[in-house]
Symmetry: C2
Subunit: 206 residues, 2 copies
DNA sequence: GTCTATAAATCGATAGAC
DNA sequence: GTCTATCGATTTATAGAC
């Protein structure tokens, strides 16, 4: 019934944040650091202890906010997926010719779909799915959603531009996604690989 | 200077194998079992102990024949690469129309290039390359050789059939390889994915 | 909710006997 | 060359204090 109790009633702490906000902040900070480390060193080589320390917390904070390593990585991937999806939709939404769109898409592919770090994490994490039903279901779900979003985008653009595809939008989406993932995997090994082949191949497919 | 010594002089043991042959047999058996386990459970989830026991040896035998886990996995991948290369060259070497070739290639792609197990191992192992210079160099070398072999094949076939490509043979090879790896990675998660999109995309690219 | 301390298990790699 | 025994280093995950 003193100051502390009142702050709790108001759900505010000294720095003007509610407890929920404070925890959300902790969670976001952990995801940020985890994202850096997962992308830099890969899934297996990243330890929860180092993530927590680097974020300014201890391992206990990780387990207070995530069920475990797998769930933390899924949170990281969800964040990346959201950014990627938004970026590619933006690239194709604006005005301009189809050729402009290809250029924009190509630019995005450099740091997005063909990104060695991201695709490498994605496929390494897919290996975890073999002994973890949770990861298997979660990843399948996410990848289908991504393929579906790409297919929608392809449908919209082709209809607007009056282009006919050699394959259906869904199949084309799967092919593009495959190519991006594979190219990223190859680039994670061989950084000399040129990404422009990707944009060229895409023109050929449309 | 008795029976045993004579056998050693003849470099033969009781079962008619020289010591070199016997060791080669041990090595092959280890690679076979390692191949099964790496493909089934992935690189990280496979322990050298289980590989050795399953092969009828103990862990010491592994270290007598391989420098460590990485070298064992490279030996496995080299074996797979050799088989894959032979298979795809065979598919395109025989007589028949270009359409027959596509059918043969498509069939091979189902168990070969788009094979979920193999590509999953390949990309998971690529993650190891980030902290192992040995793996990084070895994998880069192998992948360049594979891309080069595919490019040669494309060159041969297109010249013979009088087809002109939209991209050069080398670029087309990289795209096909990327697509196969990515498709395999996706299929390792989502077994419902259809591989025929791969053959269709290939037609579009040629 | 976060921290400290610790449990618990795994696995790669090595040393020495045979 | 192979086996047995063990080291050593990690790391995930949990229990209890605050």
């Amino acid at each position: 019934m003193c100051g502390i109790a009142r702050r709790e009633e108001n759900e505010m702490t000294l720095d003007g944040l509610s407890r929920a906000e404070r925890q959300a902040q902790t969670r976001e900070r952990l995801i940020d650091v985890a994202r850096q480390q997962f992308l830099k060193h890969g899934y297996a080589a990243t330890s929860l202890d180092k993530v927590a320390i680097e974020a300014g917390f201890s391992k206990g904070a990780v387990y207070s906010n995530f069920a475990g390593k797998e769930e933390l990585c899924m949170a990281v991937l969800d964040e990346i997926h959201a950014e990627q999806t938004e970026a590619v939709v933006d690239a194709f939404s604006g005005p301009g010719s189809l050729e402009d769109k290809f250029k924009a898409f190509s630019t995005w592919a450099q740091t997005g779909l063909g990104n060695p770090r991201w695709t490498a994490l994605e496929v390494e994490f897919a290996a975890v799915a073999r002994h973890s039903p949770y990861v298997a279901n979660a990843l399948t779900e996410r990848h289908r959603a991504i393929a579906s979003a790409i297919a929608d985008l392809i449908r919209t653009v082709t209809e607007r531009e009056g282009v006919t595809l050699k394959q259906g939008p869904e199949d084309t989406a799967v092919v593009l996604l495959s190519m991006g993932i594979g190219l990223g995997a190859l680039r994670s090994l061989d950084s000399q690989l040129d990404v422009t082949v990707f944009a060229d191949a895409m023109r050929a497919l449309l």
